[in-house]
């Protein structure tokens, strides 16, 4: 199995969070030891169990930059009750289609899906499995939007994973319009992780990073400056059998927050 860049990214971010939380705890413990008893009492009522289970989750720089909140709305088709459940995310994993765009993949991601047959929903009100409609909305868009294209797909007929070389175009600017916020949040592309290779079991990663208004191409120790227009050579292949094996796999968009909230 290949070393998956998306898995690695998840691992890295979670590991960073762990480390930062441990550091913060250690710092807090230090502070608790050195601080005077009077101060401790003053803080007491607010945080009765500083070291216990009810502590506030720490908001690290990883959360500030990467974390967004999705709302998973499920509507029971029998009693019409809408169950909304928030979940946090560090990246969005999108199903892809041949000759499509990220905009279209995002639209599909938040489109309404019917849960039925094998996949029914347990409604708390009806106390049973029911048919339901489900949709995902972005409640809080992250500062850095990481989009993972599901290029490695398990094909049941083949009994194995296959790499989808589909051409999925991604613009240098993007807006999320399916958010629950008032303004459409605007993003700018600043990095792309590219998987090079025709199959899921082998290959190579390269990356494109925008730095000081120039696009840089990183291939192991080889670093080159490339033209912005070269980014489009990593969209994928419009035909299944193509000599082009370099496909955009993980996209990094940064919020242009200030200008979008004007």
């Amino acid at each position: 199995m290949h070393q998956d860049a998306h898995e690695f990214l998840n691992f890295l971010l979670n590991e960073l969070v762990d480390i930062l939380e441990k550091e913060a705890e250690a710092a807090k413990a230090d502070a608790a030891e050195t601080s005077s008893p009077s101060e401790k009492t003053a803080n007491g009522p607010k945080n009765p169990q500083a070291n216990g289970v009810l502590k506030e989750p720490l908001v690290t720089w990883v959360h500030k930059n990467f974390q967004g909140i999705l709302t998973n709305e499920t509507r029971c088709l029998r009693c019409e009750t809408v169950t909304a459940r928030d979940e946090t995310f560090f990246d969005l994993s999108l199903d892809i289609e041949q000759n499509s765009s990220i905009t279209s993949c995002l639209k599909n991601f938040s489109s309404t899906e019917t849960l039925n047959a094998e996949d029914k929903f347990f409604c708390d009100k009806c106390c049973s499995l029911q048919e339901a409609q489900k949709r995902m909305k972005i409640k809080k868009p992250p500062h850095i939007l990481v989009i993972h294209l599901k290029r490695f797909k398990y094909i049941e007929q083949l009994g194995r994973y296959k790499k989808l070389s589909y051409r999925v175009v991604f613009p240098l600017e993007l807006k999320l319009s399916n958010t629950m916020e008032d303004a459409d949040s605007e993003y700018s592309l600043f990095a792309v992780v590219v998987h090079v290779g025709s199959g899921p079991n082998h290959g190579h990663y390269i990356s494109l990073v925008k730095s000081h208004n120039h696009w840089l191409f990183f291939d192991d120790e080889n670093v080159e400056m490339i033209d912005e227009s070269a980014v489009q050579t990593f969209f994928g292949s419009a035909q299944e059998y193509s000599s082009n094996t370099d496909h955009g796999y993980i996209l990094f968009y940064e919020s242009l927050g200030a200008s979008s909230k004007s």
Binding site: E97, N99, V169, P171, K175
Partner: protein, 587 residues
């Protein structure tokens, strides 16, 4: 015997409509009837060199008013002219029996894959014998398709069923990327070609068709060796009524104005652009040199340009996502606005062919009767006439936000967003031949038909009700109160912005949305353009495959004689085999 074997091969090659895409339908339905796949045109992919950079195919439609004179005198003894003579008979037959061709074409669409290889052999042969192509007959309409792919420009006869081009012109130093044709051009040079290197040529299309070689002949060369601008040409256009003036847009945000009768050898130089973000125009210091002016329009690439039919306005779209509309003669920005997000890739004006003809006649009359008067008054009156009488009021754009934008010149803003593409919109066009079925000329319910193609391989057709878009959107979001909390924004939306200003990107909720009437997957590759003709809709993909979809009315009117045509052609074996004989000769 050779004829027979090759005949089979060639027949199969022309009838195998889609060897690589059996899943595509050969028709699509609209309220007025079926559009059917009529012909396909392509190039000789085996011979393409893309060493100079990747190109995307664009198509230009060219009407040569008269038939080109045959370059080779007819000599009945040579097998070459004998076969071409049969070809001409076949072409005439086909021209008369469009319906029959469509039938046989569609019928053979699911053709066997094993034969697609042989079709390639046929194509190869055709290309290697470009010396015979100039003699190919067409049905007298003189309509050609000019398209680029790889390092070549290809010319196909629109009204023949031949899949292969009749002429290919190869460029040794760079790849051609954009082209334009002016049927009213004086002194012969009617075709413009822009290259990746930034070089520009003007040539006579007729002269190319008459020449036997594979090189451009009799060309005027501009921006030679990128002496004025070294960035790639992106879009090129004749100035309507501009007496040989044309403009070339480049990937660095500059646009140059040339005059073809000026000496190309003396090249102009322009001052350094002080502020890349500002629009500025610089004129050449010497009146004899080309280009005569440089317009710096934007930072980043200009992706497409389009003149309003009378040449009053020039629209540009680019990498920065802005549509800009200029008063061409005044060299002033009139209005413009930003896409929802991302670059804009294409633009087109609403134009009516009837008024286009009127406009062209008037312009010609003016230049003939009053050559000494470059009267501005005339032009102003004339522009008013055009503006009031025709619908030069709408501009379509498409881009990386997957939206088709309808821009109103009256309101100086976006009046509708077409949602329906699943990828970037790469081509837009109004269907000026289409008339609303319930239009009675009173203008009560004016409808426009337009089309768009995208990188999602789809052709979308749209109907636009004028009433729908003139009234600003005042609807509430479903199940909620109107949320125009950002009051300044919505009041801004209602007002016509001052002349010469660019509008920021509208918010999703502010723009009325329209849905397509038809969405049809027409190719297997991402599309790059579309053209409406009187009889058909042409679609082209990035890789240089062109499909011609015949309009419903056209097929119906010819179906009566199609049956007789069909029987004739099937009975007439010698015709078929010798028709193919000509392609066997090519090898």
């Amino acid at each position: 015997m050779i004829n027979t074997t090759n005949g089979m091969i060639s027949t199969s090659s022309s009838s195998t409509a889609n060897p690589q895409s059996p899943g595509l339908k050969t028709y699509f339905k609209t309220p007025e009837g079926r559009y059917k796949l009529h012909y396909e045109k392509t190039h000789l992919s085996g011979l393409l060199h893309s060493a100079h950079g990747k190109t995307v195919t664009q198509v230009t439609l060219a009407h040569l008013k008269d038939k080109p004179a045959p370059s080779t005198p007819t000599a009945p003894t040579s097998s070459f002219s004998a076969s071409s003579g049969v070809r001409s008979a076949a072409a005439r037959l086909l021209g008369a029996g469009n319906g029959s061709r469509a039938l046989s074409f569609v019928g053979g669409n699911g053709g066997s894959k094993s034969l697609s290889g042989s079709s390639r052999i046929g194509s190869l042969g055709a290309s290697s014998s470009s010396n015979s192509i100039t003699n190919t007959n067409f049905d007298g309409k003189g309509t050609y398709l000019i398209f680029n792919a790889g390092d070549a420009i290809f010319i196909s006869d629109l009204n023949s069923q031949d899949k292969d081009p009749i002429k290919s012109i190869h460029f040794s130093n760079s790849n051609p990327i954009c082209h334009a044709f002016d049927q009213d051009a004086k002194d012969g040079h009617d075709l413009l070609i822009g290259l990746i290197s930034g070089d520009v040529y003007s040539v006579s299309l007729r002269q190319q068709l008459q020449d036997v070689g594979k090189k451009l002949v009799g060309a005027q060369h501009y921006n030679k060796d990128s002496s004025v601008n070294s960035s790639r040409c992106t879009s090129i256009a004749w100035v309507p009524g501009g007496e040989g003036a044309f403009v070339v847009a480049h990937a660095d945000g500059n646009l140059y104005v040339y005059e073809k009768n000026k000496d190309g050898a003396a090249e102009s130089s322009f001052p350094v652009i002080k502020d890349q973000t500002q629009f500025s125009v610089a004129h050449a210091r010497y009146s004899k040199s080309n280009p005569i002016a440089r317009w710096h329009i934007c930072q980043g690439s200009i992706n497409s340009i389009a003149f309003s039919i009378d040449g009053t306005y020039l629209a540009t779209v680019g990498r920065d996502g802005f549509l800009r509309v200029f008063d061409y003669s005044k060299e002033q920005l009139v209005c413009g606005g930003k896409s929802y997000y991302g670059a804009l890739l294409c633009c087109a004006w609403r134009c009516s062919t009837f008024f286009y003809t009127v406009a062209c006649c008037l312009l010609r009359l003016k230049s003939i009767l009053f050559p000494q008067i470059p009267s501005l008054l005339f032009d102003i009156e004339y522009s008013k006439f055009l503006l009031n009488s025709i619908d030069a009021k709408y501009i379509l754009t498409g881009g990386e936000d997957d939206l088709v934008q309808v821009w109103s010149m009256e309101d100086r803003k976006v009046v509708a967003w077409g949602e329906g593409h699943n990828s970037w919109v790469s081509g837009v066009a109004f269907d000026s031949y289409w008339s609303s079925p319930n239009s009675d000329g009173t203008g009560e319910t004016v409808m426009y038909r337009f089309g768009s193609v995208g990188q999602d391989t789809q052709l979308l057709l749209w109907d636009l009700q004028k009433d729908e878009i003139v009234v600003p959107l005042r609807r509430c979001p479903p199940g909620g109160s109107p949320t125009y909390s950002a009051g300044s924004q919505s009041s801004h939306w209602d007002n016509v912005s001052p002349l010469g200003t660019l509008q920021p990107a509208p918010s999703m909720r502010d723009v009325p949305k329209i849905s397509p009437l038809v969405a049809h997957r027409v190719h297997t590759e991402p599309l790059s353009g579309l053209i409406f003709t009187e009889e058909s809709v042409l679609t082209v993909c990035r890789e240089g495959h062109i499909k011609i979809w015949i309009r419903p009315g056209v097929v119906e009117s010819q179906s009566s004689n199609s049956e007789s045509m069909l029987s004739t052609s099937s009975k007439d074996k010698p015709l078929l085999s010798s028709k193919v004989g000509s392609s066997s000769y090519k090898q």
